[in-house]
């Protein structure tokens, strides 16, 4: 099968839809298996994030019929389309406001935004902070590979200082976001960060996020061996995972101020940093409707 990426790059792949049972994945039940193989490169961390997510959906008892996954554009932006739920592949950066409208329209839905760091924090960064501020009752899963994967590895607002990308050929002179701090500062009521190496903790955190009432933000630190790994001499995908194993520091109770990961080759501090309760947007909308709609009152306004 030939796959053509948004940026025009093509790829040849073997079809594995009819794989024998022993080769079938335990998360097939939640996938549109007729769309496989997926487009992700060997060693990419996005697939692992999807495995953790599907298992979390199961553990949280969420029915696929009631699950909406909204993605923006990017390698991670392809996640929604592989999941056998209500899938929305929108435009670059707009997954969060699309999801906000969707969930406000029907708060019974479980709405998840699954997208990349560039999509959610560069072009869509304004929406991220405003959805956090409103405490919209949705879950945002942000795969942070420190780079724009889909378009061939350009730098972005998460690229670590000094890192080489195709648009920072001399090393990134900019400073990146600490996404946990950004989300917390904007008002997110659940904030965590894990790497794809730590599948168990990542899954548990996703369960927490999915069952959290309010805006939950899970940052998934994930290798893009093809662009970020290769250019920054992080080795092959396994080397990058080895790096995660040796340099991940679990700091569950740390303040978001202390968990910056903006230094190339530095420690990756992970944990659940925020978990608090606040009224959600949807609760406030419902509260206002209740306040305004006593039985006796007419529905009319006034003219002009």
């Amino acid at each position: 099968m030939k796959t053509v990426h948004e940026d025009g790059a093509t790829e040849e792949r073997q079809l594995v839809t009819d794989a024998p049972p022993e080769l079938q994945s335990p998360i097939d039940w939640a996938l549109r298996t007729d769309r496989l193989p997926h487009i992700w490169c060997p060693g990419c961390g996005i697939g692992t994030a999807v495995v953790a997510f599907v298992e979390a959906v199961k553990e949280a008892g969420i029915s696929l019929d009631n699950l909406s996954v909204v993605s923006g554009i990017g390698c991670t932006g392809r996640v929604a389309g592989y999941l056998d739920c209500d899938s929305f592949h929108t435009t670059h950066g707009r997954a969060i406001p699309f999801a906000t409208g969707l969930h406000a329209a029907n708060p019974e839905l479980k709405v998840v935004v699954f997208s990349g760091d560039g999509d959610l924090t560069a072009i869509g960064g304004n929406h991220l902070i405003h959805a956090a501020r409103r405490n919209v009752d949705i879950t945002v899963i942000c795969v942070n590979n420190f780079v724009y994967g889909m378009t061939g590895g350009q730098g972005g607002p998460t690229t670590q200082t000094g890192a080489k990308t195709s648009t920072t050929p001399f090393g990134n002179i900019d400073q990146p976001f600490n996404l946990a701090r950004l989300a917390e500062g904007a008002g997110a009521t659940y904030v965590s960060r894990w790497t794809v190496l730590d599948l168990g903790r990542l899954r548990r955190s996703m369960v927490e996020a999915l069952t959290h009432r309010g805006f939950s933000f899970v940052e998934v630190v994930s290798p893009c061996p093809v662009y970020y790994g290769r250019r920054n001499r992080l080795g092959e995908a396994v080397d990058e995972l080895r790096y995660y194993r040796e340099n991940t520091l679990v700091v569950p109770a740390a303040s978001v101020d202390e968990v910056d990961i903006g230094e190339l080759g530095g420690e990756i501090k992970v944990g659940r940093f925020v978990d608090i309760e606040k009224p959600t947007l949807e609760e406030r909308i419902a509260g206002l409707a209740l306040e305004l709609a006593p039985e006796s009152k007419s529905t009319g306004g006034h003219d002009g």
Binding site: H89, T90, T91, H127, H130
Partner: protein, 395 residues
């Protein structure tokens, strides 16, 4: 649900408010917007009304978010709209294309003001007509309606929602600052007399065939959460919504998206003609400019000039057959609009050789004067305006 939220009765109402009331009468229960003159009163009215009728008003962080939220809410099962003006309309363009591609019903009202850029925030123009037609990338059909009064702000907003649902497409209301800020008599009919076209819903339960296309070229549209496992895809996709980025699928999809609207254009055309039967010069106009054109035509008639008025209430799709047919027997057209020639290009495109087309316009800031339009009518009538062929010959 209980009683209809339509404000049936006779009102003295602002154009912008009438847009909001038209939306509510049509069943709109979601508004996402960002303040911008001269459309802000639509949002303010929705902020007041929607929470009282079980609807949702959301002031978003910008127009990018507004249109995205509107599309999300539409898939959440609600009739949804936004209102803006030029700068915000520009920001919405990418997601208007998303609505076209994902066949998401939505209504977008653009109250036009002087432009480019921040231009004249409080003053009128009609300079976004071509942006309405072609502003998002790619080749697509769009439906755009233009009201000339607060009454039509109401009526055409109801129609915009009906068309958005029938064709599963974004529909634009291309108002202007004058009409939107006029306060006039608006009659809102009893709820039962307002024609509402519902969303085309699947008749089969989730499973094979449930979301198949039929001869209308429009597939049924379930909401999220109903078990259909929707695949709403901005990439080129097949009929299931699965991405298939090949030239063949792309051409099929884009052709169908165009056809579902263009094929039905005769049902979409909506123009009001005055004293056209014996006319030798016809003024083509819309919105506030058409009101002034009506006066100019009256004066021309009083002076014995056989002038007529063709007022567009649907500008896109453009009634090319009617204009083409008229062009065969007319001395010419005057196109009166608050820009330097946008819809006039369409008239030029479809008029036969020898029929002259004169643009009577300005870049915005103030409405036309009947005298200017009258002068253009006289020029065309006396053969002083260039004919289409001679004009082409000049370039």
């Amino acid at each position: 649900m209980g009683k209809s939220p339509a404000l049936s009765g006779v009102h003295f109402m602002l154009g912008d408010v009438a847009v909001a009331e038209g939306a509510i009468a049509a069943g709109c229960t979601f508004f996402g917007g960002y303040p911008i003159t001269p459309s802000t009163e639509v949002a303010e009215r929705m902020a007041l009304r929607l929470p009282q009728i079980g609807g949702i008003f959301m002031q978003m962080e910008d127009e990018l978010a507004s249109i995205a939220a509107v599309l999300g809410a539409s898939w959440g099962g609600r009739k949804s709209m936004t209102a803006t003006s030029g700068p915000g309309f520009s920001l919405m363009m990418e997601s208007i294309g998303l609505a076209v591609m994902t066949e998401t019903p939505a209504v977008i009202c653009n109250v036009q003001r002087g432009a480019p850029s921040t231009g004249l925030p409080t003053l009128v123009a009609q300079g976004d007509m071509m942006q309405a037609r072609w502003g998002s990338h790619g080749h697509y059909q769009i439906i755009a309606l233009v009201p000339w009064s607060p009454q039509e702000c109401f009526d055409l907003t109801v129609r915009a929602f009906n068309l958005a649902e029938r064709y599963r497409t974004p529909v634009l209301i291309m108002a202007d600052a004058e009409v939107a800020h006029l306060t006039e008599r608006v009659v809102i009919p009893p709820a039962g007399e307002i024609e509402i076209w519902p969303r085309k819903r699947p008749t089969l339960p989730p499973g094979p065939g449930a979301l198949d296309l039929d001869e209308t070229l429009v597939a049924p549209m379930p909401a999220a959460g109903e078990g259909y496992r929707l695949m709403v895809e901005s990439l080129t996709h097949d009929d299931r919504g699965y991405p298939d980025t090949t030239a063949t699928t792309h051409r099929q999809l884009v052709q169908r998206l165009n056809d579902k609207i263009y094929r039905d254009r005769f049902a979409l055309y909506d123009q009001v003609e005055r004293v056209i039967d014996d006319a030798e010069v016809v003024v083509v106009s819309y919105g506030i400019s058409a009101r002034i054109s009506a006066r100019a035509v009256e004066i021309a008639r009083a002076r014995g000039i056989k002038a007529g008025l063709l007022r567009l209430r649907t500008v896109w799709p453009f009634p090319e057959e009617r204009i083409g047919e008229l062009s065969k027997r007319l001395a010419g057209f005057v196109v009166a609009e608050l820009n330097l020639g946008q819809v006039s290009r369409e008239v030029e495109r479809v008029a036969v050789d020898g029929c002259s087309v004169a643009t009577c316009g300005n870049a915005g800031g103030d409405i036309l004067h009947p005298k200017e339009i009258l002068e253009a009518i006289i020029a065309v009538d006396q053969g002083l305006a260039p004919s289409r062929s001679s004009k082409l010959a000049r370039v």
